[in-house]
């Protein structure tokens, strides 16, 4: 025997049915065509993002016309520095070379952004003190930006190792030149990472001044090398550039 549904049920069912049909129709009309093609996103978005204009041309494009400058740069210390680091984004210049002229920074403030002394920079990066280093003179007066060899090969290690030099300047080792402990091949000033200075390898080296039997440097503190923490190398505890630090 059939059960007569209360009148509420078919009416409510009709209301819900209308709502669901509306949702289906909306979906068919409004969901973008490329949605879901590769994943839960509008595939056409990838295309529109990829179609954005390029502002930096890239150094390969510069080399196509300026191969002489490029060759010069690649042979020198700025070999890793792209053209547009200094000359700004130049895709427009590549597209229309005679209409767009790339700027060339000539002000001191430009070069010191990278080369001013900053203790946080990695050791070995060439740095100068902009206040004392040839003040008011344009950097490019002495350094060709495409082949920035300094006019004189740096006598002091502090040109690239400024933080170490400053620290050492406050210590008892202040009067010891770097080459006291480090043998520096000439090649190091040209190709720093390829040719590295040596470092002392044994306790006896420091003992030359600090052992109780040593005769050099009367004012150096003396210890008995044979018994003073024999297990360790000296610099495991004493930082040679600031040995008095506790």
């Amino acid at each position: 025997m059939t059960v007569k549904l209360p009148p509420q049920v078919p009416r409510l069912a009709a209301v819900f049915a209308v709502a669901i049909v509306a949702l289906v129709a909306a979906r068919a009309a409004l969901v973008p065509a490329t949605f879901g093609k590769y994943g839960h996103y509008r595939a056409a978005a990838v295309d529109s993002i990829a179609a954005r204009p390029v502002k930096y041309a890239g150094r390969q494009d510069c080399e196509e016309c300026h191969d002489d400058v490029a060759a010069q740069r690649l042979a020198g210390n700025h070999r890793g520095v792209g053209c547009e680091v200094c000359h700004g984004p130049q895709a427009a210049h590549v597209a229309a070379p005679s209409d767009v002229t790339p700027p060339a920074p000539r002000d001191r403030s430009f070069c010191v952004r990278c080369h001013a002394y900053n203790a946080s920079r990695p050791t070995g990066f060439p740095q100068i003190d902009p206040v004392t280093h040839n003040p008011l003179k344009a950097c490019i007066a002495c350094h060709d930006p495409h082949a920035p060899v300094p006019p004189r090969v740096p006598q002091e290690c502090s040109a690239c190792h400024g933080q170490i030099a400053r620290l050492k300047a406050l210590s008892h080792h202040v009067n010891l030149p770097c080459i006291t402990c480090h043998t520096v091949p000439q090649e190091h000033k040209v190709n720093p990472r390829a040719s590295r200075p040596t470092k002392p390898t044994d306790r006896a080296f420091c003992g030359q001044c600090h052992d109780k039997t040593a005769t050099r440097v009367a004012e150096a503190p003396r210890i008995d090398l044979a018994t003073h923490y024999q297990r360790y190398l000296c610099w495991q505890c004493h930082y040679p550039h600031y040995p008095e630090a506790k």
Partner: protein, 392 residues
């Protein structure tokens, strides 16, 4: 700004409007669960508030999406949540949980509850009124015994479905925050549970306030057993809620994970007023003491026997303090989660606007709007237990 924050963290992304949204859905879930106490668990004393709680839930649920739409960068595209929801996103599921709750739970429940009244009013009205009420009945004008029993059974079934749905409605808001592993202030298993219980607390407090205020305005006698029962349930719900919050707090302190440093700093500096003062002292401790002393929760007739008038006043004050406290919880979660950097090294500030699109003025407006809607609903579907529907 203090310490270090990622540069992109200078601007807070989720402001007052997003604080408002869980507050409103919490009130909805709480009011509905209170209504269900009478319907499913047969707590007779709170029966005078049953219809009022339903209408309150409906009024607030209608307003709930507004702060979200106001906050979106492109509200005109919000329909995308329904058309291409990302099934992995808790926020996407919002659209469907909301739609489910609004239609299958609240609207249906209100309709079944009021169908008889609507039919009677349609019969008694003339002109536009007759057309209006007839439309609301959807043409189901049968008032036979069988139909009415069906209404009752359907209402009970919907309430039974509605309770877990209310848990889901507000629990998932907690999940939206609790599932963000990037944020140590939000990321917690307890977040949905704490949100839910604080929602229940705020819902009961709201119905208590509305019942007392509307009864006062209508110059009717207050049903004291009803109000005492509400206060009792409020007390019990607060005990559970405060226990959960204490658990979260103790757990954090005990585990002492990497984020504890910056979070402690944030609580003692940026969140001192909203957390220690508003949420804990004014919003939780003071109401617990007041309710514990005056309501029958701990002892029949109250620990301290006071006059009915005094009890009503204390209940009202307590409920208001509770609402302030729950709003502070939402603030502390939403804004607190953005006041510290994900680098765990710094704090920032939230500059609240007064008049802007996410300002204090709009917030007050959005809090007042559901009360306006409730006023309209009350005119169309009177919830008062002592009002007789006009019959043919």
């Amino acid at each position: 700004m203090q310490g270090y924050i990622y540069p992109n963290e200078y601007e807070l992304q989720w402001g007052l409007l997003i604080v408002l949204y869980p507050y409103i859905t919490g009130l909805v879930a709480g009011a509905f669960i209170l209504a269900s106490l009478e319907r499913v668990f047969n707590v007779k004393e709170v029966q005078p508030t049953y219809r009022l709680a339903l209408l309150t839930a409906l009024a607030f649920l209608l307003v709930a999406p507004l702060p979200l739409l106001g906050h979106l960068g492109h509200p005109e595209r919000s329909y995308e949540i329904f058309l291409t929801p990302n099934r992995k996103s808790a926020m996407a599921m919002f659209g469907f949980v909301y739609a489910w709750y609004l239609t299958v739970v609240l609207l249906l429940e209100v309709w079944f509850e009021y169908r008889k009244d609507l039919v009677l009013r349609a019969q008694a009205a003339h002109g536009v009124g007759k057309w209006f009420f007839s439309a609301l009945t959807l043409g189901a004008t049968d008032l036979s015994e069988r139909s009415l029993r069906f209404d009752d059974a359907a209402g009970r079934l919907i309430t039974v479905i509605g309770i877990p749905s209310a848990f889901l409605l507000h629990g998932y808001v907690g999940f939206i925050f609790g599932s963000v592993k990037a944020n140590p202030w939000w990321s917690s298993v307890l977040m949905p549970v704490v949100f839910l219980f604080s929602a229940i607390v705020s819902g009961i407090a709201l119905v208590l306030i509305l019942y007392l205020v509307t009864t006062l305005f209508r110059s009717r006698p207050v049903d004291m057993p009803c109000v005492d029962k509400l206060a009792t349930f409020l007390f019990y719900a607060m005990i559970i809620d405060v226990s959960l919050e204490m658990l979260d707090f103790l757990h954090r302190l005990y585990e002492s994970e990497e984020s504890i440093g910056i979070l402690s700093q944030m609580i003692s500096s940026r969140l001192f007023l909203s957390l220690i003062v508003l949420q804990i002292v004014i919003g939780t401790l003071v109401p617990l003491v007041l309710l514990g002393v005056t309501s029958p929760a701990l002892r029949r007739g109250g620990v301290a026997r006071g006059s009915e008038e005094l009890r009503r006043l204390i209940y009202l004050v307590t409920a208001v303090l509770v609402e302030i406290g729950i709003f502070s919880i939402r603030w502390n979660v939403v804004v607190g989660g953005q006041l510290f950097s994900k680098s765990l090294r710094g704090l920032t500030v939230y500059k609240v606007e007064v008049l802007g699109a996410e300002g204090v003025a709009i917030t007050f407006g959005l809090l007042a709007l559901p009360l306006v809607i409730l006023w309209v609903l009350v005119k169309v579907l009177p919830p008062w237990p002592d009002v007789e529907a006009r019959s043919a």
